[in-house]
Structure formats: structure tokens, C-alpha cells
């Protein structure tokens, strides 16, 4: 394939999917700066591997995998964010004023407060709609681990975002 043809196909894909892919990056990183950098890194790797990836027929899965694993790399390198853990999930959780006023900010804050792998599982399973097996393959972990991360992650989100009478789906 000539370079111009390759670049035309790459351009079509990027323009069609960069919005969605950056939202995935944003869900993983929690801020637009890092999300933008992360997406650029992934799209550059995609450019280099375009011929092979396009032949395999699923460039989006390729980029998503880079987003997830590049973020893990970053976690390993920096491990420096203050982490917050809920000790009593669902019980005695004080109401947070901003939940009523800014659901969007609250969700992102709650999502970023999850441990790294829980956050990835929640994003892949409950936003992108991957099933347990697909999530396990994507993250390179066991299906049982996906299930436990999923239930803990959802419980933590629920404790911040929803009342007990309104379970998250």
C-alpha cells in the first residue's frame, strides 16, 4: 500500500474515532492534558503499525489496548498520586454537596479515586460494554479478578454517587 493510501485510511479512522478514544483516555486519566498526551502517544503507535493493524481489521481495539496499558505504565512510573479508599462502602457515607450540583464532576472524581485496575475494569465493563472475558483479555488479568474489581469499583462509585435506593446498573 502506498503511503498516501495508508495515510488516507489512517486519517479517516482518526477523524472518525478520536473523540471517542480521547474520552476513553479521559476516563482513565481524569484530566484533558494527560488524556490528550495519552491519545497522541497511542495514535502515533497506531500510525507506525497501521499496515498490520488495518489488515487485522480492528484499529480501535489496538488503540484502546495502548491507552489502557500506557496508562498502567504511567502508574508504575509515577505511583505518586494520593489515593483515597473508602473504608465503609455504602455505610455512614457523608453526603457531599457537590453531588447535587455537579454530577459530572462528582463521577469523574469518584472514578479517579478508584484504584487503577478497578477504574479500568469499570470503564471497560460498564461504559464501553465489554463482557467479563473481553475485559480480562484486554487487561491481561483473570476473569475472577475482573468480577471482583467490578463489584468493588461499582460499590465505591455507588457510595459516592447514588443513594442506596438507586443502585447503579
Amino acid at each position: 500500500m502506498r503511503r498516501s493510501d495508508r495515510e488516507a485510511a489512517y486519517t479517516d479512522f482518526v477523524l472518525a474515532r478520536q473523540d471517542h478514544l480521547r474520552r476513553v483516555a479521559y476516563a482513565l486519566c481524569g484530566n484533558w492534558h494527560d488524556a490528550d498526551d495519552l491519545l497522541q502517544t497511542a495514535l502515533t503507535k497506531l500510525y507506525v503499525a497501521w499496515s498490520r493493524v488495518a489488515r487485522d481489521g480492528n484499529p480501535e481495539a489496538y488503540v484502546r489496548r495502548i491507552l489502557v496499558h500506557t496508562n498502567i505504565d504511567d502508574f508504575r512510573r509515577r505511583q505518586r498520586r494520593v489515593q483515597t479508599v473508602s473504608l465503609d462502602v455504602g455505610a455512614d457515607m457523608p453526603a457531599r454537596e457537590r453531588l447535587d450540583s455537579d454530577e459530572q464532576a462528582a463521577l469523574m472524581e469518584a472514578l479517579q479515586s478508584l484504584p487503577d485496575m478497578q477504574r479500568k475494569v469499570v470503564v471497560l465493563r460498564h461504559w464501553l460494554g465489554l463482557d467479563v472475558r473481553e475485559t480480562a483479555v484486554e487487561l491481561g488479568i483473570a476473569e475472577g479478578t475482573v468480577k471482583s474489581h467490578s463489584s468493588r469499583g461499582l460499590a465505591a462509585l455507588q457510595s459516592v454517587l447514588a443513594s442506596p435506593a438507586e443502585p447503579l446498573h
Binding site: R22, H126, H169
Partner: protein
């Protein structure tokens, strides 16, 4: 509450995307760099094999008899992508649930400092350890009063030549203690950046040196950016600041003992366009 729908709403928006021409240019550059690296690798392999071949030649001054067996050329090395990384196990940390200090199996403590963070309600410990044959500086802190939410952090760093363990501990304290008390939206606010890339100190910080723009691996080309070394409460910090199409500038503070002069400092992800 439909979580997917909530996600869809929460993740909407964001700044404008980089132009597709920029993405293509970065991709082309990365392809060229990769080819150059592969070419250099092949050349290095050839030189090594050539060297081995040369070294295996019999000394012309030594008379040999019979034939010399030559080994077949080894197959070329196949470079594959590394497998998906697994989650790391912290070497030294407070358990969030029990509040106990835990060390990974195999950690040997050489020197330990109890409560290096002098702030009430914070449990902290730091140490110089050896683990799997390497020496590490490690430090962990936990905000004890945070119930039902509990905040904490743990850090690990290979000793930096020319920098002391005490200096590193103090930098960690300055960087990470305060965010434990405001994990949602904490802003250190020690510098601000102007549209022309000039940094201004605040809250008692002192700028020791600054330069603009930041390197290409620290900020995209064409956006206001700067790097600096600052001093805050006696701790030296590296600053990387940039203004992108976002509501607030991205300003990152790093421990100067880990990134002397901001060298090899990363904001988060290396730009493929880095020189």
C-alpha cells in the same frame, strides 16, 4: 441510575483536537526514528557477530591443523512488543484498612525514619531498603482521621547521585502531604504561567531558574510552556508548565532530587515527536 448514560454525559466535551496534519507529521517522524533504530540495531548485531567471528579466527601466529568448525549464523533477533505489564507490588506501604506498615517479601531495611512528616493526624515512615539486589528510598504516609475515606500515598525511588535521602523525604513531604487533606481539586499553586511562558511564584515559593519553552517531550510545540526549579519550604522542586486548550494550565511539580534540573522529567507521557 444508568451508569453508561452517566458516563456518556460526564465524558462529553474536552478541548479541540490537535490538527490531523500534526498527528501525521508525528507519525512519520516516529516511523523514521523506528527505522533508524532498527538499522542501528542490525548494524550493531552485525558488528557484534563480526567481532565474534574475528575473535574466533585462529591466531595466524599459531599453526593449526585440520579444519576449523564454524558455527552457523544465529537467527536474527526478533524484537516483539513487551507483554502487558502487571500491577506492581509496593515495597513499603501502609495498609489502607489496617493502618499497619507492610513491606514486600524480600525487603531488607537498612535505615528507617519514623514519622518524617510532622503533621498531626498523619502516620508516616521512610526507609532506605534493599530489594532484589537494589537499593531504594521508600516512604509511605496515611491520613489517620480520614474515615470513612482514608487517604495515603507511597513513594519509591532509586537513590539519585548527588542527592540525599533526607532531601528526598522533605520533597515528598512538601509534594504529597497537603493533597491528602484535599484530594478533590487540590492545587499547589506555587507558580502560574503567562501566555508568553513566564512563570510567577506564589505562596512563598522562590523560582531559582526558569526557561521557556519546555522541551518537546514535556509540551507540544507551539503552546506556551516553561520549566523551572523552585524552592518551597526548603524543598527544591522541578516545574513543568504548559497552556493547552483546556480551562486551566497544566502545571506539574516533581521532586528535584528525582529530576535534577528537570532532566528526563515527564509530564505523563513522552511525546513521540521528542528529539
Amino acid at each position: 441510575m444508568d451508569l453508561k448514560e452517566t458516563f456518556d454525559r460526564a465524558l462529553d466535551g474536552g478541548p479541540a483536537h490537535r490538527p490531523i496534519e500534526d498527528r501525521l507529521a508525528v507519525g512519520r517522524r516516529a516511523t523514521r526514528r523506528r527505522r533508524t533504530a532498527m538499522g542501528a540495531s542490525v548494524l550493531a548485531t552485525a558488528l557484534v557477530l563480526g567481532g565474534i567471528g574475528w575473535a574466533a579466527q585462529p591466531d595466524p601466529a599459531v599453526k593449526t591443523e585440520g579444519s576449523v568448525a564454524t558455527s552457523p549464523t544465529p537467527p536474527p533477533t526478533v524484537v516483539s512488543e513487551s507483554p502487558a505489564p502487571s500491577m506492581p507490588t509496593p515495597m513499603y506501604e501502609y495498609d489502607f484498612y489496617t493502618g499497619d506498615l507492610e513491606t514486600a517479601s524480600g525487603v531488607a531495611i537498612q535505615h528507617q525514619v519514623d514519622s518524617p512528616i510532622a503533621r498531626s493526624g498523619v502516620k508516616s515512615s521512610a526507609a532506605v531498603i534493599t530489594f532484589k539486589g537494589k537499593t531504594w528510598w521508600v516512604m509511605s504516609a496515611l491520613r489517620e482521621a480520614g474515615r470513612p475515606l482514608r487517604n495515603g500515598w507511597n513513594e519509591e525511588q532509586e537513590p539519585t547521585p548527588g542527592r540525599s535521602f533526607e532531601q528526598w523525604m522533605h520533597e515528598m513531604d512538601v509534594l504529597w502531604t497537603e493533597p491528602m487533606f484535599d484530594t478533590y481539586g487540590y492545587k499547589a499553586g506555587w507558580v502560574t504561567i503567562s501566555e508568553n511562558g513566564l512563570l510567577t511564584p506564589h505562596k512563598g515559593a522562590t523560582i531559582l531558574e526558569q526557561s521557556s519553552p519546555a522541551r518537546l517531550d514535556q509540551a507540544p510545540e507551539g503552546v506556551p510552556s516553561a520549566t523551572a526549579t523552585i524552592e518551597v519550604d526548603g524543598a527544591r522542586l522541578c516545574v513543568i508548565a504548559r497552556i493547552m486548550d483546556d480551562p486551566s494550565p497544566g502545571i506539574v511539580y516533581l521532586a528535584e532530587s528525582e529530576y535534577p534540573g528537570c532532566g528526563d522529567a515527564l509530564i505523563g507521557y513522552p511525546y513521540e515527536s521528542a528529539p
